[in-house]
Symmetry: C2
Subunit: 218 residues, 2 copies
């Protein structure tokens, strides 16, 4: 009797969702509109996005967003899309982290890995109509005993299914497509690895309205 | 007889330096001057920095720099400082990677960890006179069997010795100081972890001439 063709039960289904504060689920992001009126574009973008359910704090380098994954994805998509609609060449840098409630040098708390199911997270984010080009890196941390490459390959396959995977570069994967799909692929990859690895971070640099991109043969 | 106060011999001293291509030593960075004339500032910065010994390629999202660590540090410092001297609020995002020659999903090649000695890397980068504020993350990857936290603590202690450590935030360490010291701390941390862990990446968001920072009490 062989069960090798039976997919394993999803690990996440058996674990109650921890609170974002307890598990350390959040984002840091910064928005760089390349215009003399950058302050208006940044404040307008932060103001336009729905922050329901999120705790947001901004300093002079970046903005920290703490909350549930679906709310983080919706907020980032709305804020960055709003900046993109100005028509200004704008770059956003997003860091997502889970599994480490505190600082960069935190010791990982005991306990299993948890991540919500990807379709539940992506279902409520409509297309923005804004084209984005991105460089994406995904990091399983302190992953002793897990096959972390399996999660990374699943994340890249998922980006291909979403139609936004456009190539592999040194240290990063390139994504192109509607901003909502690009950010959706990044969040989904973070969760796919996070199903088995407790502490996972991901970084993405997202470029909108680039004069280089518009001039190219894309 | 106790030797607990004797520092261990540096592991790097026994290993021949691999080529940057073979080991995968490089940077990806992007420069975001928040001005209508951003193209002039970016091209001026890339042109002003000495690229001797480096292989540089630019696309519409970021610039890839391959070469020796001391040359990468000098190049990034010169390019970002040049943009900062425009007086424009400018943000740079830098990703450094070592130990993974190929793509984000590379399998780590066999072989030991290597990193050059930190003082040799930092000695040739003079102060820029440009103040930088930064958020820094440091990632040991595929670190099974190593005490990766020891490297991270050594990296943070080194940033404190350089006088640029200014706090711990969610997911990042905050650095403030002369741009050369901030980037020096980031490169040094990457190398201190890289002495024991083969694949190490680090990300830093560096802000220059921020109107928020100037308005603050710092």
């Amino acid at each position: 009797m062989s069960h090798t063709s039976t997919p394993p039960a999803p690990a996440a289904a058996a674990v109650a969702a921890p609170s974002p504060d307890a598990y350390g689920i959040g984002a840091r992001f910064s928005l760089h509109p390349m215009t003399d009126s950058f302050i208006d574009v940044i404040l307008g973008a932060l103001d336009a996005a729905d922050s329901t359910g999120l705790t947001i704090s901004t300093d002079d380098v970046s903005t920290h967003v703490r909350g549930r994954e679906d709310r983080i994805l919706a907020y980032l998509t709305e804020a960055i899309a709003h900046a993109g609609r100005s028509g200004v060449h704008t770059v956003a840098h997003v860091l997502l982290s889970r599994g480490c409630p505190g600082e960069v040098a935190c010791e990982i708390a005991d306990g299993g890995a948890y991540a919500p199911q990807v379709p539940q997270i992506l279902r409520n984010v409509p297309a923005t109509g804004i084209h984005a080009s991105a460089h994406w890196a995904l990091y399983p941390l302190d992953d002793e005993g897990t096959d972390h490459m399996a999660g990374i390959y699943a994340a890249i396959d998922h980006a291909k299914q979403l139609g936004v995977f456009t190539g592999s570069e040194h240290y990063v994967t390139r994504l192109d497509g509607d901003l909502a799909d690009v950010l959706g692929a990044v969040v989904a990859g973070w969760l796919l690895v996070g199903t088995d690895v407790r502490h996972v971070t991901t970084h993405v640099t997202v470029s909108l309205n680039s004069p280089s991109g518009q001039a190219g043969a894309r």
